[in-house]
Subunit: 242 residues, 2 copies
Amino acid sequence: MTTEAAWEPVRRVRMHEQVLAQIEEKILDGSLRAGEKLPSERELVSALGVSRTSVREALRALEAMGIIEARTGSGADAGSVVTARSTPALTNLLRLHLALARISLADLVETRVQLERNAARGAAATRTPEDVARLAELVEGMRAADQEYQQFNALDTEFHVSIARISGNALATDLMQALRGAVESEMAAAFARLPDWRAVAADLVAEHEAILRAIEAGDGDRAAELVAEHITRFYTDRVLNP
Amino acid sequence: MTTEAAWEPVRRVRMHEQVLAQIEEKILDGSLRAGEKLPSERELVSALGVSRTSVREALRALEAMGIIEARTGSGADAGSVVTARSTPALTNLLRLHLALARISLADLVETRVQLERNAARGAAATRTPEDVARLAELVEGMRAADQEYQQFNALDTEFHVSIARISGNALATDLMQALRGAVESEMAAAFARLPDWRAVAADLVAEHEAILRAIEAGDGDRAAELVAEHITRFYTDRVLNP
């Protein structure tokens, strides 16, 4: 379809970039899957015809991105494993992206609300009695979690992620989790500023309970409304204008 | 708040990971911003008290993540610059994540539709006459783009990203762009399979035109409906069941 070939500026592609590109390509085309072992450094050196330094730089980069994990136990033939959980990688990069692109917390909250609304609506349509029981268990856990904020927060996170999972969209679930993770330190700081976090937690438990009931009743519109209010209120009252 | 200190397994943190963590920390706390120059390898070696190899591995990792860019021109003191555009990094990682987490195209489309619905609704509420003129220009460009699919696709992308930008949410804009980028090769393949891509493009132009008119009229519900149909139809008819 190209009518004329355009000139392109010549760019020096460094050795480790070529190693990286080949590994990424294998992940993208499905020939290297989550949980699988990469060839060892030594094997990659000989298969790719590059220096050990280039191989190591590429592997370090993939590790830093959260795409591969160094296996416990080292040595020249230890090898690395392709990660089965790339959501933390997404969370980490999203945090850096938020900082670099100077994205406001308000934009993040709005995006989270969009995703959570849809998740709640979806969950209200597809929930099984087991799903509802699991959510109820998490709410009870939150009610009982009076020792530490971290304990409460872990259950709170699990509640929201479970709703997304029930709705059936794996990508939306991961994005919600990553967005939440990206502001976790702000959330913790907001809680730390509270004179009595347990009082606020009690309000949050009641809100979760109401969301759960709407999902149980199959009332998607109400579930979406409640979850949107729940998130917006927390950020507005506690984080943005504490 | 901690009642008792738990034991944590000791983990060997490698040198380059510590270098990486320090640079990431500076980005997250805002002391290292987009467009700014990092200290040179040599300066980092002396400031951090680690080997040049560790510094280089950390820098390569940040480059691979798309967080810093090597400056043109090399040499020991060339240094790197913190990127001002981290959306491509997000796109790249999202592509890998989709492959690793084995996320279906259907989930991706649904998530894109959610974000695009909100963007269209937002744009209908906030659009200025200049915004509308710019969108109209893009639609005219698509109508005239009969030489190459790439040319059409660039304008199509710009149309959708512009709507998100008009709606005012920077994060939603970046996520939409990243999600679109993550399936760009599938889109191109779908177009390449068409016996006559120009006929399909003509339908797409008409759909864009209708979306533009709804935004111009300030009819958010209709703009959201139209953009959702537009995306769903393309994926269903052309990509999923071609």
